[in-house]
């Protein structure tokens, strides 16, 4: 980390890329070795975490499928891969993910701009609200979406438009779920870009478009690519949305893997499908790494509070209102449907279902869990998972800050893999791999936050990395030259600049953990269910009251999520003086 002596800035950039001037070679070598050792030390925790809680369980379940009676059955791979049904599923999985990602970017990028650059009343609240879909169980959100897009839905009544069981319903629902990913990842960086650079380009005669294209877009590219990658991985492994809105005719690899593992117990087929999923995800990660490699550069980062202002002129107002209209229609309306259903009781509007939640818990079946208890469980698991994700992801991001070599790029990709892995593979993998001392965790509560952290870590890495890499390295060098230790450099240079990214990352990790269902359902103890698990229990039964209670719990989940995110934003605002 420590570079000796004052060097020309340009050569410094090069030094970061691996070339060093002969004159400083001796010292730099010592520093280089130390830097490598430091990087390895930083990587140790994330590597151990992923080896034990991801690679090992997933390898165990895949091996169980492909190794029968002590012999490898690789023949199965050929059979499954050449099955036309598999190819259909693979094709649908890929194209809907690409289409969903493109649509999400198209819809959400203007939103990212508006949230980053404009000041308007209720902005903080709205930013929390657009993140709410992200945590909702897909069963619940899917049902709300049907109320918007389906037969007799809002669009049907207004314009006679129906999208249920069409691919459009799936794509729009993916936008609904992932809007926040783009707004938060891209907007987080956008808010910190110095607008004076674009203004300078304008002054020098560039048109508004070409100033944006040549100055802002290249600076944003890494964040856009990171957001696109995450949206792609999320939609690539889409499960509930496909089942509810696509009907039984559409299946993604994730759905197929769930069927083979949890229902048919055809582990060989499931193992091959998992490998196919890995291969596809690896290809996407490679593509991502290749596009971003030369794009990330040091940027001038400024306090986001200074870049946002009230919109000026009709064009900006139109943009603001356009974004607000999209948010209202696509995100707020389905959420409002849920709230409405939770209040619309048998005797008109009221809090019947909420009261029922409270009294049912006293009446004493093991089926019922007091809502406050479920909220408590969810918050506790999510808090622990966020700590895990921040520690693991933060260390990983710190290790990855410098231009990476091939090994480190592989490490970067490894961290993203859990997003592209089926929850059922992880859940079942935990079960068969973590079953012997010292790792017999099958009955332990800590499995839940561990599984949730696996999904949180990629978010932490992807939100922090573009910002960390954008920090001008000369700042670190200057601090080092002035005698600061690497720890102190990190604390006083990196941390203040990435403070916002840490808050965004923590918010994501927290929201992801709150909403995680796929793996949690296999490992959560029934006497300590999380909110999504409790909601699914209620939904699995007939009866107006149980349905209403599911809606009431969903509303509580939404409030918990929005509340926690607002609280996190508050922490960030309090510390913005450090910028």
């Amino acid at each position: 980390m420590v570079l000796a002596g004052p060097v020309e800035p340009r050569e410094n950039r090069k030094a970061a890329g691996g070339h060093r001037k002969a004159g400083t070679a001796g010292k730099a070598d010592g520093g280089g070795r130390r830097a490598i050792a430091l990087r390895l030390a930083l990587m140790a925790v994330p590597l151990a975490f992923f080896a034990v809680f991801f690679a090992y369980p997933v390898a165990a379940i895949v091996t169980r499928g492909l190794r029968v009676g002590g012999q490898w059955r690789f023949g199965r791979i050929g059979e499954v891969v050449t099955d036309p049904a598999t190819l259909d599923v693979l094709w649908f999985t890929c194209w809907q993910a690409v289409a969903s990602t493109a649509l999400t970017l198209a819809v959400a990028l203007p939103g990212a701009y508006v949230f980053a650059r404009f000041d308007f009343p209720g902005k903080g609240l709205l930013r929390a609200v657009v993140t709410v879909p992200f945590v909702l169980p897909t069963v619940v959100a899917g049902s709300a979406f049907l109320a918007l897009l389906g037969r007799g839905g809002v669009l049907d009544e207004l314009w006679g438009m129906r999208f249920d069981t069409s691919v459009w319903a799936i794509l729009l629902a993916h936008v609904f779920f992932n809007y926040a990913v783009v707004v938060r990842t891209v907007g987080g960086l956008w808010a910190q870009l110095d607008p004076r650079q674009e203004e300078a380009a304008r002054v020098l005669g560039a048109s508004r478009l070409s100033a944006w294209r040549r100055v802002t877009l290249p600076a944003l590219a890494p964040a856009v690519a990171a957001a696109a990658l995450m949206v792609f991985l999320f939609t690539f492994t889409s499960f509930g949305v496909i089942q509810i809105l696509g009907g039984p005719r559409y299946a993604t690899l994730e759905v197929a893997i769930y069927r083979e593992t949890a229902q048919l117990l055809d582990l060989p087929t499931a193992a091959v499908l998992t490998l196919i999923q890995f291969a596809a995800v690896a290809a996407v990660l490679a593509l991502h790494a290749w596009t971003v490699r030369r794009r990330e550069s040091a940027l001038r980062l400024v306090d986001p509070g200074r870049t946002a202002r009230r919109p000026k002129g009709p064009a900006q107002w139109a943009l603001l209102w356009g974004v607000l209209a999209v948010v209202a229609l696509l995100i707020v309306t389905p959420l409002a449907v849920l709230v409405e259903r939770s209040l619309n009781g048998p005797d008109g509007y009221g809090f019947t279902y909420y009261e029922a939640l409270r009294s049912a818990a006293d009446s004493g079946g093991t089926f019922f869990v007091a809502p406050l208890e479920a909220v408590g469980n969810s918050l506790w698991y999510a808090a622990v998972a966020t700590v895990f994700a921040l520690v693991v992801g933060g260390l990983a991001a710190a290790a990855l800050t410098r231009r990476p070599g091939r090994l480190v790029r592989g490490f970067d990709a490894l961290l993203m893999l859990p997003l592209g892995t089926s929850a059922v593979t992880v859940g079942f993998g935990f079960l068969i791999a973590l079953d012997e001392p010292p790792l017999d965790l099958r009955a332990s509560w800590v499995l839940v936050p561990l599984a949730q952290a696996l999904v949180g870590v990629p978010f932490v890495v992807r939100t922090m990395l573009p910002v960390l890499r954008a920090v001008d390295h000369r700042l670190r060098e200057a601090a080092a030259v002035l005698g600061a230790s690497p720890w102190r450099v990190w604390r006083e240079v990196d941390l203040p600049l990435v403070g916002r990214a840490v808050a965004v990352a923590a918010g994501f990790a927290f929201a992801v953990s709150l909403g995680e269902f796929g793996a949690t359902v296999f490992i959560a103890r029934p006497d300590h269910p999380t909110l999504p698990v409790a909601i699914a229990r209620f939904l699995g039964r007939a009866g107006q009251l149980t349905y209403g209670q599911a809606m009431a719990l969903s509303t509580i989940l939404m409030l918990v999520c929005a509340g926690s995110l607002l609280a996190l934003e508050r922490i960030r605002t309090d510390r913005s003086g450090e910028f």
Partner: protein
């Protein structure tokens, strides 16, 4: 510089220690192996009154710890995967459609629970070896929306044949047999009625009559069915659900209506029997046997209907008023031998998918 490096490394080590300490904490809270606890491995719709479980603890000294893992199919598969190294002592929740899979995998140790003599022989599907004990049964049946048929002055369908009549065109919604257990049950009902080579023809007719297929029970019942009070505004008055859904519809009503808003087409049913068994390799065999006895005890059996909306297997267990008043006893529910289901399940579901989807 070395001291700083050391500091970073020690911070990393401290971090991982903190992680493992947390993990360790988790282990402390687990109490699976001590002999005063008996662990019941089950699916996530298992439910019992806390008072009843407390009674078991009072009588036997054992505390019940419940370990659930996903829906019935996932829970069974997890139990099979952890065979010989089970997560608990007793497994509850394998039904007749999955029974063969657990027996073929040698999951259970034989045990004849007390009170089995009170269970009808037809429900004892492993009568020769007693590896599993029947605990409850239910029927998967077509439900209808009473109001719809009264308004249209139309007689609701009663049998499978009725469903293919033009009068009921575009009225039925069912679930995907590949992903949903009522969906599979309905397919099996038709296979039992029309035979191995006849059910395909029936489904062709059903398809021509406009049957709609959705992926899960929740969507079918709450989003598409018009008779459910909860959920969206569905427009299909016929749905594949359970014989116990009508009692469930009125369970929470403050003023009890004369009849449930939904009814059951009694000639369309498939019987589902749920079993429990002592897991091979259980840590607490004695406690497990006591728990199996308890599951068949009158006290537990009478607690079953209102907790899980299924029927007790004991003939002398009294049904709660909700069931005797709003439920129906299905006399001629279809059944198939578990071995036959195990053998045909996959090819049938494949054929069904190609016919209907």
């Amino acid at each position: 510089m070395n001291s700083q490096l050391r500091r970073v490394i020690s911070a990393a080590v401290l971090g991982s220690l903190a992680l493992s300490a947390l993990v360790g904490c988790g282990e402390d809270t687990k109490s699976g192996s001590d002999s005063k606890t008996v662990t019941l491995v089950t699916h996530d719709s298992f439910a019992a009154s806390k008072a009843v479980l407390k009674e078991f603890t009072k009588e036997t000294g054992y505390k019940v710890r419940v370990q659930a893992g996903g829906d019935a199919g996932a829970a069974v598969n997890q139990a099979i995967l952890s065979k010989g190294h089970p997560q608990g002592d007793v497994f509850f929740g394998v039904d007749n459609t999955l029974l063969s899979r657990t027996l073929d995998n040698d999951l259970f140790s034989p045990y004849t629970a007390k009170g089995l003599d009170k269970v009808p022989a037809a429900l004892q599907l492993d009568r020769a070896e007693h590896r599993v004990t029947p605990v409850d049964f239910g029927d998967i049946c077509v439900n209808y929306d009473r109001k719809y048929f009264a308004d249209k002055k139309l007689t609701p369908p009663r049998t499978l044949d009725d469903l293919t009549k033009p009068a009921y065109k575009n009225l039925l919604v069912t679930e995907n047999a590949a992903t949903s257990s009522p969906g599979l049950g309905f397919l099996l009902a038709t296979a039992a009625k029309y035979g191995d080579d006849g059910w395909q023809g029936y489904w062709k007719k059903l398809r021509a009559n406009g049957v709609e297929v959705v992926d899960g029970w929740e969507q079918a019942y709450y989003d598409r069915f018009s008779g459910s009070a909860g959920g969206g505004k569905g427009d299909r008055p016929l749905v594949v659900s359970y014989a116990s859904s009508p009692p469930a519809e009125v369970a929470d009503a403050k003023t009890k209506p004369g009849q449930a808003p939904t009814g059951v087409a009694t000639g369309t049913c498939f019987r589902q029997v749920e079993f429990a068994g002592l897991l091979n390799g259980a840590g607490n065999t004695k406690g497990g046997k006591a728990l199996l006895d308890f599951l068949l005890s009158k006290r537990f059996q009478e607690d079953v209907p209102l907790n899980m909306y299924v029927n007790p297997v004991r003939e002398d267990a009294k049904l709660p008023e909700l069931f005797s008043r709003y439920g129906v006893r299905i006399a001629d529910s279809a059944t198939l031998a578990p071995q036959k289901i195990a053998k045909n399940r996959e090819p049938w579901v494949k054929t069904w998918s190609s016919l209907v989807l």
